[in-house]
Amino acid sequence: MTHVTRSDVLVIGSGGAGVMAAVEAANAGASVTIISKEPLGYGDTRISLGVMSTSPDTSSGDSEEQFAEDMIRGGEGLNDPKLVRTLVNEALEATATFEAFGHIFDRDHDGRLKRGLVPPGGHRASRTIGSPGAGVSMGHTMRSAAARADLDVLEQTVCSELLVQDGEVVGATALRMPSGEPLALLAKSTVIAAGGAGSLYYPHTDCMPSVTGDSYGLALGAGAELVDMEQVQYLPFGITHPPALLGAPCGEPVVAGPFGRLLNNKGEAVLENIMPMTRAQVARAIVEEIGRGGATEHGGLLLDLRPNLESPQGEFFVKALRKAGAPILSVVRRAYGRKAADLEEPWDVLPTAHYNMGGIKTDEWCRSSVPTLYACGQAQGGVMGGNRLGSTSLTEIFVFGKRAGRTAAREASGRQHADQKLAREPLEKLRALCGSPGTHRPIHLKRALQRLMWERVGPLREATGLEAALAEIEAIEEQARDLQISEIRRCNTEVADAVELPHMLATARAIAVSALARTESRGAHVRSDFPERDDAGPVSNMIVRMRDGECKLRRAVTSE
């Protein structure tokens, strides 16, 4: 007998966006089921630095207009301005809501919110507020808020596909990892909040391994449109060695300070005045220099922060870095030693996959192109355009998490639950995974795909590489029909890999197809065969959807 749940709202994913959506939907009176691959709250939000953009400080001359302009300039015009304005307008309210969940952001002596001193790259003013316990303290808050609300919580449950009836999403199927038992989750509204796809680039990523593009794979499977999937953010500074720390985050442009510079293997400065640049600009400069043969023996460039130690202005920055960047310095100390962490020796750095700007295309109330399907957080596209400014993703998860939860709850009333018979075939597919007698281990296909994505669909791309990648993705898809999986029911990692693999493949295809179609370099998408931004024609978004097993692309001129 199959276990079936029925709720008004199903939320897939339990990072900041998922928990916020679930709590808002429950507060609006909906019955809510939230599923999480890991323990609840253990997504990328929990391993972030916990630094979030709140509202602009108008007393220092900053304004909402200026904040929105910074986001759109940083995003190189690909952002949906309506979504940007929503984020900026509701940033303060979202801050207050998350604090009402139990969180406490940095405070001044009077107990008022205290904004950071140095804005991340691309912001003209500081709107950031830190979390004294970094991201993990946000994780505590999310778990507490979920416990306080009336939610049905299913931890360690991985979603395999969305159930679709007459073009509407009516729930999902999933697998309980501890028991290996498949589940049908029927719902009147379904919210995708399963984060990005950083793991597509493992080990070149600082994201949780659970972030395998499920958001995009699930949405594509249900016929929803994704926007600008080619826009993958590589944090410019990631660790190159030892292998255990490859991909670990050691900073965004602001970490360079006013005088930091990037050196190549000949000791030549290849980039200076890094601090005000966007992540996309700095990551590009690094991979282009590496392409010219400037890499160190460890494959990176050298981030030289020593000049900051030699001037009073730099000294101020060094103090700020020691305070706010403690987690970064601790990773640097482990990888490169104490002198490097004291900024006295340069750091070997290579961009690392950090965030997907692209995602499910939604309106400002988080409705996707498929009725009854909603998306929020990193799952959603269009907010950040071609580059996300530092600290804005934590704003995004709360602003749009609230909206998705409210909309999904409101629109659920009046809808009926589908018949559970609809789940029969997807559940059979799930059952068949355990003990599958085929040829290829899912983890080996995952690793092959990850290598391919980094090499051919990574920070530097060109047409022949992208075409080869698409052919290789198709070959892996073929191999994925013939899987070899052990027979264990309990916590069978191979089964989880097999459920994630199709999401990864669908996401990889969407990224590669969009990257091939964008014949220019814009935002985080850099084409060595089209190194310039195409400013002659109108700016277009790349919109993809799956139809008859094909990834179809259309271009849409950006609004505004």
Partner: protein, 219 residues
Amino acid sequence: MNIEISIRRYDPDTDPEPRWDDYAVPSGDRTTVLEALTYIYEELDPTLAFGSGCRFGSCGLCAVEVNGQPRMACSAGIRNGMKIAPLAGMPVLRDLVIDRVAFFEGLRKLRIFIGEQSESGEPQIVRVPKLHARLAACVECLACNSTCPAYDFDKDPLAGPYLLVKLAQLQLDPRNTIDRRKQAQDLGMSDCTDCRSCYCIRGLDIRRDVLGVLMGDGS
């Protein structure tokens, strides 16, 4: 260079007892236990189950016992002859994976949250002592529970240092309205023999920073 490590294996569905399996794994530049576990799963034994997450010490999911001591697999280096087991005293789902579900349920049971706040759309004025931030940085690896000799999961999964950290954090929060010291007493905090065995991977001094907050009479 290859080295040998032993891993404790157990599937409650099929095994009467846990057993130790030996594996030869490559060791290179500062190879970690997590890299060794990943290598075994990918190349030697598809049936090995272990927890892992961020790889860089931020998530607490990969905590295991290495030669009898709780460590994060992502930061512990491997040595020849090392023995790797799940955290002691925790319910094992399979091999090195422990069941954490009781800890989410515990948040509900002990109301580990502040009450609903009236929302004005503006953040409130809140002042907390510096210690609050240190408690808020707990990565929930559960090493503290696993090293507390008085902790017995089967008797009460919540009666251990891990939940006390949360109670102390709330005790310091001006928005908290529940007597957290009384909750700590009810969990059996006064049975603590001050043996100082409870170990925090993040270096929190549980006796000073947690019990210190919860021992007072509230005045």
